[in-house]
């Protein structure tokens, strides 16, 4: 028998920080290799921005003092969060469970929770890069001012990311497999993008639809980002709505998550 097999106290396993770092780098590499993920999260919002920015109507037409293009920039930031939360996270996580990746990790000292944390970190980092890219291209290429209330914008963005990722996690938790997670996520994505005003800005919606949209997670996100863009601190109602979604769906996801 090898010397360490007896009941000798053993030093703690590898530092958790370094393992999470390694897992995150690996997940980032896999995300980039996937190509569809980065394309949807970063390239598509930029492409939409470029199309809208080159249509004169979007510069001329104004709703409540802002040009249509200015109204669309916060919506595109919401688009980034939504596509990562609904089109990427649920399918990736449910896929890991379906393939037994999480199960295999359960047999190692690291366990499966950290690989999910790594996936979330990659998604959040991608969101930060994509939103920054949208804001910069809008500013530099099309003269759209940067958010005037920067702290409020950041607060809205963080809360929105938490709320949407929590919903994405919940979808991953309750979907039996990657295909279902994909379908549910894609459906949610389109419904949510409507509430965010992708097809019709919230400000241009009839009053009832406007109220419903602002109560929906992505609508609340878009409204908070729009307010901060125009120089106001986001309305407490929207921030509370987002925090509520984050807590409720986060807790539900944790409760219902199955490792296999």
């Amino acid at each position: 028998m090898t010397a360490h097999a007896s009941a000798v106290p053993v030093p703690p396993a590898a530092r958790p920080g370094s393992v999470l770092g390694r897992l995150t780098r690996t997940e980032l590499r896999l995300f980039v290799r996937e190509k569809a993920g980065p394309a949807f999260a970063i390239a598509l919002p930029l492409a939409l921005l470029t199309v809208f920015g080159n249509i004169p109507y979007y510069h001329r037409h104004r709703i409540g003092g802002s040009t249509l293009l200015e109204l669309y920039v916060p919506i595109l930031a919401s688009f980034v969060l939504a596509t990562l939360s609904f089109n990427w996270v649920p399918a990736a996580m449910a896929g890991y469970r379906e393939k037994g990746v999480l199960r295999r990790l359960r047999t190692t000292p690291v366990g499966p929770a950290r690989v999910l944390a790594a996936q979330l970190l990659v998604s959040l980092a991608t969101a930060a890069v994509a939103v920054a890219a949208v804001l910069l291209v809008a500013r530099l290429s099309f003269g759209v001012p940067l958010p005037r209330q920067a702290a409020g914008y950041l607060a809205g963005l963080v809360l929105a990311a938490l709320a949407l990722m929590a919903i994405g996690l919940f979808v991953a938790a309750v979907s039996p497999n990657g295909r279902v997670a994909n379908a549910v996520g894609a459906t949610l994505f389109y419904v949510m993008m409507f509430s965010a005003g992708l097809f019709l800005p919230i400000a241009a919606m009839p009053p009832l639809l406007r109220h419903i949209s602002r109560a929906a997670p992505l609508g609340a996100a878009a409204q908070a980002l729009t307010d901060a863009t125009q120089g106001h601190w986001p309305h407490a109602l929207q921030l509370l709505t987002l925090a509520g979604y984050a807590v409720v769906f986060g807790a539900a996801a944790v409760r219902s998550f199955r490792w296999e």
Binding site: A5, V10, A13, A14, R22, R33, K99, R104, T107, P109
Partner: protein
Amino acid sequence: MPAVIEVRNLHKRYGPHVAVDDVSFAVEQGEIFGILGPNGAGKTTTVECVEGLRTPDRGEIDVLGLDPRRDRAELTQRLGVQLQDGQLPDRLRVGEALRLYGSFYRRPADPAALADALGLAGAQRTPYAALSGGQKQRLSIALALIGSPEVAVLDELTTGLDPQARRDTWDLIQDVRARGVTILLVTHFMAEAERLCDRVAVIDGGRVVALDSPAALAERVQGGQRIRFRPSVPFEDALLTDLPDVTGLTRQGDVVVVTGTDNALGAVTSVLARHDIAADHLRVEQAGLEDAFVALTGGDEKTRRRRTP
């Protein structure tokens, strides 16, 4: 020698379905211990309880002096596991997987040496999705060994491997054991158990129906030899069935099949010679683990299904 794995009166049910009824066995240090049984016998559930992936409803399990559920953090450092259905992300490359999983452990094995030993050296940069079935299986074995475990649990080790890869894998497992690693092997493949295992527990219907070395299990089966030949001239059955060492005689066309004890061959050939009967195409088969298995578990899956609707 203390037992490295000890399972006592393990019982596990899923709802009304009893997966493991009452299983007890002990695996000793440095042993290759096989768990053999038909599909649905409770083999995988048993080892999943040993791995700490499932909580037994009753019974006790002790692995390296640890409780698989309570002492997970310590157990996972010292127990390597190869799962039957654990895949990897499609785009993760072989070398990346070995280095990443190695980083989880206190004393990782050298990833390059392990890849070499498992014939994966040339596939280091190949993404998981592009590997052949055999390569995936070998990577799965490599990941079970990457933490330099003291005990390795291997579930359906060589499923999906071609005969050469299977032999190479068997050699590798023997090397791993020679380095002092205790191995718990789940298999339904008799040749594998016969070749590798020091002792085998045969599980059927959630219970251990036999526990012994493969050779001892084979010896228990009646009809130690089966002799087939084509006689040059016809003869009466009684000529051979009267022999004390012969237990049975059947005819398949013009081929005669005689079953009997280990001394049957000598008795049969001398009687045939005395009557000037030549035995063409003579073949002698020794009863093996497979015969023992069929006798112990009551036949193959088809007959099982007929018996238990």
